[in-house]
Symmetry: C2
Subunit: 113 residues, 2 copies
Amino acid sequence: MSEKEMRGGAEEVRDRLPDEQTICDLAELFKMFGDPTRAKILGCLQVRDLCVGELAEILDMSLSAVSHQLRVLRGAKLVRRSKEGKEARYALDDDHVIKIMEYGLTHVREDRQ
Amino acid sequence: MSEKEMRGGAEEVRDRLPDEQTICDLAELFKMFGDPTRAKILGCLQVRDLCVGELAEILDMSLSAVSHQLRVLRGAKLVRRSKEGKEARYALDDDHVIKIMEYGLTHVREDRQ
DNA sequence: ATAACACTTGAACGCTTTTTCAAGTGTTCA
DNA sequence: TGAACACTTGAAAAAGCGTTCAAGTGTTAT
């Protein structure tokens, strides 16, 4: 039984939705891909593991900006860091990343036909 | 040939990236899923087509807030509107939406194990 | 020990986004 | 024609985000 009466069939829709926390986690995940800088970083790391300086050079951005975004991506468990001497090497931490981006790319490209 | 000399192999990574416009389009797409309200709306519309008032009721939000987000989603061509008398009925405009969300959900749920 | 290198961090700034609020449009019904 | 309904819109307030700047950490080389 739901808290309030709703007009015809509306609560049926609500009951079929994933719960609040799941939706928010989902949104958090997609938000990671929702910024060009982060999308580029994830794209680069699909080619190979890279350290911060290399990423900064490739993206033509400051070390700091890249480092901040890597931190965000690390918080979302999408990338992983391994220290090698004074370098910090980053890698994708998740197989899904590639699939999700591929799927998005397919969509974007189909939209252009 | 690239504009500048880069340290070992970095330009090779850059050359393998999708072009700027594609990355930005991709980020724009994922940004749509990157907000809980929009994610919920898209989730609801996967169950069935709905009008603005129903969505507002299900999400427990104002008509205005929902309408604004539907506008954004319409701009991204993820939902479609059809007027029926005084109602505005919204539907998913894209098959990819379901797949993309499903994929994201799989990821989110696996992350919890 | 000192300097150079490769980041990381926190605070601040400007920009964008989301929600609210109030007013406006278009349709239906009496 | 007027009132009710179902949105839509624009502007403004509130919140959130991304980049920069300056300072800080830890590692390596001299």
